[in-house]
């Protein structure tokens, strides 16, 4: 705020709208932000908050039909009004972008080295180089992002892992030596361990080159750990801004508080996760005043009278809450109770009958030399009413195991009994057994956007499941209304189609569909990973409630250890298809396997030592 000479970017009143059907809709409303040279800021928000649009507008990279107004000065150039010719000079040289999925950013038909050469060719000093010098330059650029294997330059993007691809993406972004790097969800598509490595890499490069960085993320913890200052956006408007450590310790806006609170803690199990009531308003509702008002418990009629903007509240902090002075103490007190919320001990009845018994189960795809083992010698027990978590990174085989249990995949070797039915027999099972199996084990899929038939109404979907339950028929069949009520949706939802529902609502319907069959085991495959944080807490609470009410057993498949802590009694850690550690949820407190320790290390933490420690280790 003080040294304006070092100001790199200054945005004031940035407003982005789109014209559809003759109607102007505002997607980003009056955003103010600034960035100094060598500084890293984070823009945090849930889906639909307008965080990506805002930064894209700075490079004039908005989709067709979108218009940006306001003022944005990037090293003296007004980037909102500059001509396309001037923008070409700004993009790359002044500011470069790192995208979420490096696979879509890299041309699949170009080798890694070619990608870098393409960008480097823009530089006169590179064009002046001889061929061996150029090759050395490409190599040097790859080494900067931690790729020391010289063979990588000759590989194609598909031959690299996700983390490697993101490293190449970063190298390509850095090749133009920009003053500002914009990283749009750079680690969202990556596993936790890789995420940590990439963030550390970004920070160390940013420090070495004294660049500025804007990091866009939905994960508050990532932003706090990686950025000097953080901006919090909600539904197209800025809610709060301030230095990371202060914002994380004392939020001064009800939304920030809600976000921080609904983040499940890793170190303890809460009796109930705090939630932000309600859902993100639709962009079609262009309400006046504070956009968070309808979900805010401190809202007064004044809040929706006039537009609110970020206003300084001292200590380099600003908040868009009108009542920040009145409720500041209340917010602090609430935050305190969240930090020390009621803790619940994991409890389980180890004398309950076993419902799933796997012994030495393996699953291989393909034949002969090309065979890939997804599961190797896995043994697992689930008892009635127990909540078991399967933990691992992508490729660990956790989803395959879940799919085997429900019959979407077949087991290659080993013995597997589910409710006394030998599921290894697969298609050879008698019809009655298949029916029992299907009714007792149900599955909730990761992606609520594709797990509901888009052409059936919610009512049709649930009624179909109900009819299926009647076919098996020992328990009373739930009506569509009862199912909707159980998952916390109003009866009117029956007439809607999935396209009219938000992600959280769809996941509730998917859970309801599974419950309609009165199963005794519910397999949840990353049920909250596609959802926003505030909705994630709602769904986790719902699952815990259902478990308490019905005594259903849960198999929770997830990569998120904080989520595991909230729901699981027993944990199985999978690495490359093998169980490397198992035990009660206390495994998370005192892991014995190195892999589990690594996973725990990688869980994003607000404190800056989460990233610092490892980069120091890297230097040593």
């Amino acid at each position: 705020m003080t040294e304006h000479a070092s100001r790199l970017l200054d945005v004031a009143g940035l407003t982005i709208g789109v014209r559809t059907g003759g109607e102007q809709r505002i997607l980003v409303d009056g955003v103010d932000l600034h960035l100094d040279l060598g500084e890293t800021i984070g823009i945090v928000g849930e889906s639909g908050s307008g965080k990506s649009l805002s930064v894209r507008s700075l490079l004039q990279l908005l989709p067709a039909g979108f218009t940006a107004t306001g003022a944005a000065q990037l090293s003296g150039v007004n980037v909102l009004t500059a001509s396309e010719r001037d923008m070409r000079r700004v993009r790359g040289r002044q500011a470069s972008m790192i995208l979420q999925d490096p696979f879509t950013m890299l041309n699949p038909l170009m080798r890694v080295g070619r990608h870098l050469e393409e960008v480097l060719r823009e530089k006169p000093e590179y064009r002046a180089m001889s061929k061996p010098e150029r090759r050395a330059e490409v190599q040097r650029r790859l080494e900067e992002v931690g790729i020391t294997d010289p063979g990588v330059a000759r590989r194609y993007p598909f031959q690299l892992s996700g983390g490697m691809r993101q490293r190449v993406g970063i190298a390509a972004t850095l090749a133009t030596d920009p003053a500002l790097i914009i990283a749009d969800e750079p680690t969202t598509a990556l596993d936790a361990v890789t995420q940590q490595e990439i963030l550390e890499l970004l920070i160390s490069i940013q420090r070495q080159r004294r660049m500025s960085m804007i990091m866009i993320t939905h994960d508050l913890r990532v932003a706090f750990a990686a950025c000097d200052r953080v901006y919090v956006m909600y539904a197209g408007a800025m809610m709060e801004a301030g230095p990371s450590d202060e914002l994380s310790r004392s939020p001064r806006h009800p939304y920030t508080l809600g976000l921080l609170a609904s983040e499940p803690p890793l170190d303890r199990r809460l009796a109930r996760l705090p939630v932000i009531q309600g859902e993100l308003p639709s962009v079609r509702d262009q309400q006046v005043g504070c956009r968070f008002a309808e979900r805010c418990e401190w809202a007064t009629p004044d809040c929706t009278q006039e537009r609110v903007r970020l206003a300084p509240i001292g200590d380099d902090r600003s908040s868009a809450c009108l009542r920040v002075d009145e409720i500041g103490r209340e917010l602090a007190a609430r935050f305190e109770t969240v930090e020390h919320g009621a803790v619940e001990a994991a409890h389980q009845d180890l004398s309950a009958p076993v419902i799933v018994a796997l012994e030495g189960v393996s699953k291989t795809y393909g034949h002969g030399n090309g065979a890939v083992a997804a599961l190797e010698d896995v043994s697992l027990t689930i008892r009635q009413g127990q909540a078991v978590a399967l933990v691992g990174e992508s490729g660990s085989g956790k989803t395959t195991l879940g799919r085997c249990l429900v019959g979407l995949e077949s087991v290659s070797r080993g013995t597997a009994e589910v409710f006394g039915i030998d599921i290894t027999r697969g298609a050879k099972l008698p019809r009655s057994d298949v029916r029992t199996w299907r009714s007792k084990v149900q599955y909730v899929f990761q992606d609520p956007y594709s797990s509901l038939n888009p052409r059936m109404t919610i009512g049709q979907t649930l009624a179909e499941a109900g009819r299926q339950a009647a076919l098996v028929g020992d328990a009373p069949v739930l009506s569509v209304e009862e199912v909707l009520e159980r998952v916390g949706l109003r009866a009117q939802y029956a007439a809607r189609r999935p396209s009219a529902l938000s992600g959280g609502e769809r996941q509730r319907v998917a859970i309801g569909r599974a419950l309609a069959l009165n199963p005794e085991l519910l397999i949840c495959d990353e049920p909250v990973s596609a959802l926003d944080v505030s909705v994630q807490a709602q769904v986790l609470n719902l699952l815990n409630d259902i478990r308490r009410e019905t005594g259903i057993a849960l198999l929770f498949i997830t990569h998120d250890l904080a989520v595991v802590r909230q729901v699981a009694d027993t944990v199985y850690v999978l690495e490359k298809g093998r169980v490397v550690e198992t035990g009660s949820a206390q495994v998370l407190d005192s892991p014995s396997s190195g892999y589990t320790k690594q996973l725990l290390e990688a869980v994003p933490r607000t404190s800056s030592d989460w990233l610092g420690k490892r980069s120091q280790m890297g230097k040593a």
């Binding site: 429900v406 098996v472 396209s499």
Partner: protein
């Protein structure tokens, strides 16, 4: 439809937005409207043709080969029959046959395509080898041979073309089925324990329909052209009957005396084929956007 409707919460802005969207929905493009109008004429002419133009087949050798006039809009042919009236009459064979072919190929294609795509295995293999075989055969030539062997006639030609176009529908439906069957909503249906046929016809079919329906419109256009071609070769409709293809063929002798004799039915065929294509595209857009998508 996707907006939370609580009483009284409807702002004026919301209302205008909705109205704008309804208006946009209601108004298809001019080309689509023209296509619909033209096809409607064909349907009316096809169904009520003999009532509309009862004297179309009356010969009057004194009036042969006349040009355009207020009495004969497109002039007369060598037997003095009104060309326009005969084109109107010809709508019947241009409508019924292609419609039957498109519908038949659509049904065959959906059943076989869903089976091959969802169940696969040996039945799928058999179906797809049959499709390959049909693809390998030169369509119109086979039709000519088959009709020659079976003795010809309009309905034989219809049946042969139906069997020849079904593989295209089958292949398309199979491809879409394979693309859809890995989606979680299909897997969810399987884990509910639904029967194969229920998954196929209740869950997959509605999601395959947009493409299959637009393919049916394409088959209609192809069928119209193929039937006309066969009639032109004297293998479809019986000579002398008011079929657009037959009329084209029979116009050859007097083409130089009255070009309208060829232009009339030719334009009728071209407009019909183009209209069906345009309408097919439009229907596809409507089906695939209308609440059908997941996002």
């Amino acid at each position: 439809m996707s907006i939370e409707t609580t009483a009284g919460a409807e702002t004026p802005a919301l209302r205008t937005f909705r109205a704008a969207r309804r208006r946009r929905r209601r108004l298809p493009s001019v080309a689509v409207l023209l296509s619909i109008a033209y096809l409607a004429c064909i349907v009316v002419a096809g169904v009520f043709g003999p009532l509309l133009v009862p004297h179309a087949n009356v010969q009057s050798l004194t009036d042969s080969l006349q040009g355009m006039s207020s009495q004969h809009w497109l002039g007369t042919d060598d037997l003095g029959r009104d060309i326009f009236e005969r084109v109107v009459l010809g709508a019947r064979t241009a409508l019924y046959g292609p419609l039957l072919i498109a519908l038949g190929a659509f049904v065959i294609g959906c059943v076989l395509g869903l089976t091959a795509g969802y169940i696969g295995g040996i039945p799928g293999g058999i179906i797809m080898r049959w499709v390959d075989l049909m693809y390998a055969l030169p369509g119109v030539l086979v039709a000519i041979v088959a009709i020659g062997v079976l003795g010809g006639g309009y309905w034989v030609a219809v049946a042969v073309i139906m069997i020849l176009s079904a593989p295209y529908d089958t292949r398309l439906v199979r491809a879409v089925t394979i693309e859809q069957k890995g989606r979680p909503y299909v897997e969810a249906a399987r884990t509910l324990g639904l029967s194969r046929s229920r998954v196929m016809f209740r869950h997959l079919l509605p999601n395959v329909l947009p493409l299959a329906v637009s393919q049916a419109f394409l088959s209609f256009a192809f069928a119209l052209i193929n039937l006309s071609a066969l009639s032109f070769l004297g293998l479809g409709s019986t000579p002398g009957s008011p079929d657009w293809g037959t009329m084209l063929a029979e116009s050859q002798a007097s083409l130089l005396d009255n070009p309208l004799l060829a232009i009339g039915p030719a334009l009728a065929i071209i407009f019909a084929a183009v209209s069906v294509n345009i309408l097919g595209d439009y229907v596809f857009d409507r089906l695939s956007t209308k609440e059908g998508r997941n996002d």
